[in-house]
Symmetry: C2
Subunit: 237 residues, 2 copies
């Protein structure tokens, strides 16, 4: 693979572009403190994120019709509030709380790295987040996407093949001319099996531990980088 083989970079977003855990901790603590609850907000954030895969699976496996991620975040929030014994939030507050996922901060290298990458490549989101979520996040954080693709435009959640293939089709590219960029190995192997090029980004602090363990030594991916600056370097920008 050479950099010229690629025309578009497609990005996972939660964990790869933005630091969801710190943002959700911060917003959760603010809401909880306002209502007089003192819980471990790191545990709360992890529990909310932990509701993600089971709720997604219900849609992916056809046990319920497609709904956008905002809706799944709302359902997960209600479960986690009950789990932590937090009560008394009004409807407007719940709606705003779900929008905490729209207000996540990018990793420190993300915006500058994307600005370099967009000089040569089409940059598109390929996230499970719905369009409005991605749009609000990008406006607030200054993420220079050329297109917001992913689950909602495909009406299918990753790692369903349709999510990736719809993005490539809308970019008018064969998968081999797209590179999937993600901090999660399962996302990259799904894309790779469909012909995408792949780049794993270490986001060692995604879970606040400084460590990640999902990348096997014999990974077979095209690139493995520390951050988007290194990705731009590796692509000769």
């Amino acid at each position: 693979m050479t950099p010229d083989d690629i025309e578009a970079l497609t990005f996972d977003v939660f964990g790869t572009v933005v630091d969801w855990r710190s943002g959700i901790m911060r917003e959760s603590a603010a809401v909880g403190t306002r209502h007089g609850f003192a819980v471990d907000w790191a545990q709360f954030a992890d529990a909310w994120r932990g509701r993600y895969q089971p709720l997604l699976s219900d849609v992916r496996d056809g046990r319920r019709p497609w709904v956008p991620l905002d809706q799944l975040h709302r359902e997960g929030l209600e479960q986690v509030l009950a789990q932590f014994g937090i009560a008394g939030l009004g409807e407007a507050e719940l709606v705003d709380f779900v929008r905490a996922w729209h207000r996540l901060d990018p990793w420190p290298d993300a915006v500058a790295g994307l600005e370099r990458l967009r000089r040569r490549y089409v940059l598109a989101t390929l996230s499970n987040g719905n369009v409005r979520l991605m749009v609000n996040m990008a406006k607030r954080a200054g993420l220079p996407w050329d297109a917001v693709l992913g689950a909602e435009v495909a009406r299918a959640y990753k790692p369903s093949p349709e999510t990736y293939l719809t993005a490539a089709r809308m970019l008018d590219l064969p998968p081999a001319r797209c590179m999937m960029v993600a901090a999660h190995y399962y996302d990259l192997t799904a894309a790779q099996s469909l012909g995408f090029r792949t780049c794993y980004v270490w986001r060692r602090d995604e879970w606040g531990t400084g460590e990640k363990h999902d990348l096997p030594a014999d990974h077979g991916l095209d690139l493995v980088v520390e951050d988007f600056g290194e990705l731009a370097d590796r692509l000769g920008l």
Copy 2:
């Protein structure tokens, strides 16, 4: 209606944001001259654009399955080349010629106006152009879209209701909180019938005549403006 009623502006693009006619004349003349053909390139551009509605109608009315606009532009080009007696173009040249629609220049006020408008509103394309066409155009011209919506994500061509309603749904807004911005009355009445707010933009030079005649005196639209600068003024930006 007050400016605060609106959260998103959805834009028609060909004619409203970019000057398709000058761009297609310029690119057609360059190709034709290279092959030794001298025809009236304004007539050629108008003829190519004239193929647009019949080809779209075949899809809209279900006489053929959905295909992206690039494909319809290709079919229209082949018809118009034959009509003008132009022959001898190779496949790569035809592919590039169709991409002339990706290389159109914005009207002089468009980029500065959009930059003002995006400070408060979500800006989305709601064009019949496919996603890659909109992305290439925006990268070249510096159009600051927050999202590329429209025909391809809805798999339906304007003025089908589904095109507008899919955009509003992906913006997570009721139609009444979206304003359709277009230089064509039929586009605005279709959006208005679904609950969109509407803004007509005079683009008097769209057809090179300095005149347009499609806006009735009793139009019933929310706003009528000369350009995007006036739209930003009228919305208090």
